[in-house]
């Protein structure tokens, strides 16, 4: 099984154990229990880092349908309560289900009216148990989540995937972002969480997202950022990253060609 979220939607005609190509005419239609094993609209990388004011995460806005760049304005960052933000990679319908589930949870907590609100670690724990439970039923939520938050002066950044695997770290990246962006994030952030300014954090995330756009087929240069600080969650409007291609002007061919 290829459970690497960067390959969730990489269809191979030769070997595709999940039959996950939505354009395959042989798809069993009407078997609803199989939905999550055939992820359709997919999101790619989510990045997260801790900085001096709190936590910042970034994701592009592409919802891929197979090899097709189907939805170019798919928001993959969602606030949960006032001090938690959720970034999602993987199947977008499972993400919508999760958003609904977490909203219900927050409302239920609010109804009790006991002045207790779920903080980020609570939400993270809940989400990771749900994902682990679903994997144990062999009916996974086909997502990788990044949970960021800021509670009582404490930064929180956690990762949980469709198997229920969890880790907390000052930098987090899903999918191919784990290969491309993690090295840069580790160099730039690890050990400097307390002194990294907001401007620097934005710059780091922009650089990483740009590299992903250059190198990963399912990333767009249109991204969204979210920060969680003592003031709460703030999610940016989508914006485009400038790109640079001029280095290719002098190149002729791919081998011994000279003109």
């Amino acid at each position: 099984m290829d459970r690497f979220s960067g390959n969730f939607d990489r269809f191979s005609d030769l070997f595709n154990p999940y039959d996950s190509n939505p354009t395959n005419a042989n798809h069993a239609i009407g078997d609803f229990t199989k939905c999550t094993r055939k992820p359709l609209v997919m999101g790619s990388t989510v990045l997260g880092l801790e900085y001096q004011d709190g936590v910042m995460i970034a994701a592009d806005t592409l919802g891929s349908w197979g090899q097709l760049a189907r939805y170019r304005n798919e928001s993959r960052i969602y606030p949960v309560g006032n001090f938690t933000v959720l970034g999602a990679a993987g199947d977008m319908s499972d993400f919508q289900h999760t958003k609904h589930m977490l909203d219900s949870l927050m409302i239920k907590e609010y109804y009790t009216n006991d002045d207790h609100v779920l903080s980020t670690p609570h939400i993270y724990e809940y989400l990771s148990r749900v994902l682990y439970h679903r994997r144990s039923k062999l009916d996974p939520l086909w997502n990788t989540y990044v949970v960021g938050g800021y509670n009582n002066g404490e930064r929180f950044l956690g990762y949980v995937d469709l198997l229920g695997t969890t880790y907390q770290s000052s930098i987090v990246a899903t999918g191919l972002g784990a290969y491309f962006a993690q090295p840069i994030l580790r160099n730039a952030v690890e050990g400097r969480e307390g002194i990294l300014t907001e401007a620097e954090a934005i710059e780091i995330l922009n650089t990483c997202m740009k590299i992903l756009f250059y190198r990963e087929c399912k990333t767009l240069n249109r991204i969204q950022r979210a920060k969680v600080t003592a003031d709460g969650v703030e999610i940016s409007e989508p914006y485009a990253l400038p790109t640079e291609w001029s280095f290719g002007e002098g190149i002729r061919g791919f081998g011994t060609q000279t003109q």
Binding site: R3, K34, T165, S169
Partner: protein, 235 residues
């Protein structure tokens, strides 16, 4: 990927009721080891968590060894989510036991509890290589080694996980003092045992790519549990 399955199980992707070919395990790897002494026990684990597929490091510091409420120490490697779930279940049972009996569970009793908890998932096992360390009823150090479905035995020194096969022969030599003539057991001081443990992990890190970053030593004595942290190679 099927080689990740620790034991022969009747569950396979094909036989799953839902007909899914989703594979519910991964190997987050890492190494766990334990050595018991006369009145102490030293448990150790590295802190690297790897993705399980490919050569990716998830994080350099995600502890996989935990002090339990009764003073024993439980270390897991393998599928991290299963290991964590196992620890949550065990801690819950310790809590119930405490309220039911008004005392902490002893380490030998906990060892049995851990065994039946693992066996309760015989046909959909926790893919965790578990090691339990603590003090027995007489106050002697004890380490229990397990397989993923609950077979267990107390031992003097045990290593398991991705670097386990590198460390175990070294412990056999240094702790068991196994020779062709039989076991020549030498007394070991806490300092000697700590040194053996640290050197085991620095050596395992040299040759096992999934072991590394930091080493956490849990030293269990009648006074309680001390935790020490050391550097390991990060490449």
């Amino acid at each position: 990927m099927d080689s990740f399955l620790p034991v022969q199980v009747s569950w396979t992707p094909q036989t799953a009721a839902s007909g899914s070919d989703f594979y519910p395990y991964t190997n987050n790897a890492g190494t766990v080891a334990g050595i018991s002494g006369g009145d102490f026990c030293v448990m150790a684990a590295d802190t690297r968590q790897s993705f399980g597929v490919g050569y990716l490091i998830n994080t350099r510091y995600q502890p996989k060894m935990f002090k339990l409420s009764n003073g024993s120490v439980l270390g897991t490697s393998g599928f991290y989510a299963d290991g964590l779930t196992l620890i949550k279940r065990i801690n819950q049972r310790l809590e119930w036991y405490k309220h039911a009996h008004d005392k902490e569970m002893s380490t030998p009793a906990l060892a049995q509890l851990l065994s039946i908890t693992l066996y309760s998932k015989r046909f959909f096992p926790y893919y965790a290589r578990v090691l339990l360390g603590g003090l027995d009823l007489e106050g002697h150090g004890v380490v229990y080694g397990y397989d993923s479905i609950g077979s267990y035995e107390p031992c003097l020194a045990r290593a398991t996980g991705s670097g386990g096969s590198l460390i175990q022969p070294f412990l056999d030599n240094q702790i068991y003092r196994k020779t062709p003539l039989g076991i020549l057991q030498a007394p070991h001081t806490l300092d000697q045992v700590k040194a053996v443990m640290r050197d085991s992990f620095t050596s395992a890190t040299e040759r096992d790519i999934q072991t590394g970053d930091y080493l956490e030593l849990f030293i269990i004595t009648a006074q309680g549990v001390d935790v020490e942290k050391y550097d390991l190679r990060k490449d």
